[in-house]
């Protein structure tokens, strides 16, 4: 099959203009600000929805977004990748046990923030870890996301039973000290996370792009969220984290995220470079 390059060399540029208009429309219409998200990510998600809904171009999509809130809500799910796991990256949790917990044990009480918590798996994983390390009783956990649908799932803490095999394996690799099955109640096709773990967690709406500081935190976990932002927005959100942390507070990023390429890197010192654990300089 012969494919000739498009006569119009400006396809990429023109696509960009249309996509910027779509993002502007979403912002004006619904207040969600995706204008500084990583462009390659946004384009792929829009293309995905475009082909599923059999539309020809981004402007047709913009029209539908503006006039059909239901369609927008669907698109919102596309744009906010909710993929997550319990004890995702077991090595990271191991490192938290080894290099973070000893510090946290010295504080009389703790405030912990999971920013971009998705359906709660990461939050419950950390609650289990803190329970096993005996610091959960002095801890208040805040878990936030900008997607209400996913937040209500997080509050429920109900997960398909077939995921438990992988989660159990992760838990064990992460240095889990008990029987993982002790942390949930299994029904025939799903499991329900123990009420005792939920009591320490406040799940609430917070948009990292448009909302402000979340104060006096000892630890902030923000894993696999910043990769969806462009460098400028990453910098802004990292400053928000800096301002939300107490001096000497900890910031934990995703395994493939780092401060290396950010102007905020001088504000933090590394605790574990390989596991992306940082500490706010005093």
């Amino acid at each position: 099959m012969v494919i000739r390059p498009m006569i119009n060399d400006d396809t990429v540029k023109n696509n960009r203009i249309e996509i910027d208009l779509v993002l502007e429309g979403i912002y004006q219409c619904y207040g969600y600000d995706f204008r500084n998200y990583a462009h390659a990510h946004i384009k792929r998600r829009l293309d995905h929805r475009l082909s599923l809904s059999r539309m020809d171009n981004y402007l047709e999509m913009l029209h539908r977004i503006i006039h059909n809130e239901e369609f927008f809500n669907e698109l919102l799910l596309d744009l906010s990748i909710n993929v997550t796991e319990m004890f995702r990256d077991p090595e990271f949790y191991k490192s938290v046990r080894e290099s973070l917990i000893p510090y946290l044990q010295t504080y009389p009480f703790l405030k912990v923030w999971h920013a971009g918590c998705s359906a709660g798996q990461e939050v419950y994983s950390m609650a289990i870890l803190m329970h096993e390390e005996k610091i959960i009783d002095k801890t208040q956990i805040y878990a936030t996301d900008f997607n209400e649908l996913i937040l209500s799932k997080a509050r429920e803490g109900i997960y398909p039973v077939e995921l438990m095999k992988q989660y159990t394996k992760n838990y064990q690799t992460a240095g889990g000290k008990a029987s993982f099955a002790g942390y949930y109640r299994a029904d025939y096709d799903h499991v329900l996370i123990n009420q005792s773990l939920k009591e320490k967690i406040l799940f609430t709406y917070h948009n990292l792009v448009t909302d402000g500081v979340f104060g006096e935190m000892n630890v902030i976990f923000c894993r696999n969220v910043l990769i969806y932002f462009n460098q400028e927005l990453q910098n802004r959100v990292l400053k928000l984290f800096y301002e939300s942390l107490i001096p000497g507070g900890f910031l934990c990023l995703g395994s493939k995220e780092s401060l290396k390429f950010s102007e905020c890197s001088p504000l933090f010192e590394p605790v574990s470079l390989s596991q992306k654990i940082y500490r706010k300089k005093r």
Binding site: D9, A40, H41, Y228, F261
Partner: protein
């Protein structure tokens, strides 16, 4: 065909562990293009690929990280369990959006974003592999005016991937000729 290439994207699955060294080791020391690679691997593998390929290359081999700049003469490997994308300015971006063709990283995801970033200055290469990831990617590279190279299935450990992509190939080559072909391509670029 453009005579001014900037980057190469390579995709492979089954058989890639031996096919990649065969392609990369002949490349000359001052090879002037950026090279990005997706090799399908288990989600739980570590930076094994980076260490593996370092043994065979004169060029610098790095694990791709989010917001990393791409440099000429440097090889970037997609990390296990993340999609690797290229922004239009040529910086790298990662994502954990759902697998494509059961794969994360997916070859299509890298190739389609690289096609937008480098357009006619991009070379896409499909090597041995056992599924059809990469075919939409090379199609997009053709649409943007880039150059597509596919491994001759007679030399491929697994045929499905190169067979499926060959429909869009400008050039089909046996494995042991690809490295030298690339050397010649970039040396002749001003002629």
């Amino acid at each position: 065909m453009s005579s001014n290439f900037k980057a190469i994207v390579i995709g492979t699955s089954t058989g890639g562990l031996s096919a990649l060294p065969a392609v990369l080791s002949p490349l000359m020391e001052d090879f002037p293009l950026t090279i990005l690679i997706v090799q399908h691997l288990s989600a739980h593998s570590d930076d094994f690929m980076v260490r593996h390929l370092r043994k065979f290359c004169d060029l610098e081999v790095l694990g791709a990280e989010d917001k990393m700049d791409t440099r000429a003469g440097c090889i970037y490997i997609a990390p296990p369990n993340y999609h690797l994308m290229v922004e239009e300015e040529g910086t790298l971006a990662l994502s954990i959006s759902p697998p494509v063709h059961f794969s994360r990283p997916s070859i299509d995801v890298l190739f389609e974003t690289a096609a937008d970033a480098w357009q006619e200055q991009l070379i896409g290469i499909i090597l041995t592999g056992a599924n059809s990831d990469g075919t939409s990617g090379v199609k997009k590279i053709k649409e943007r005016g880039g150059h597509v190279l596919v491994q001759d299935i007679a030399t491929a450990e697994a045929e499905t991937m190169p067979a499926s992509a060959s429909e869009f190939a400008d050039m089909i080559l046996p494995l042991d000729q690809i490295g030298n072909y690339l050397n010649n391509l970039v040396q002749n670029k001003t002629s």
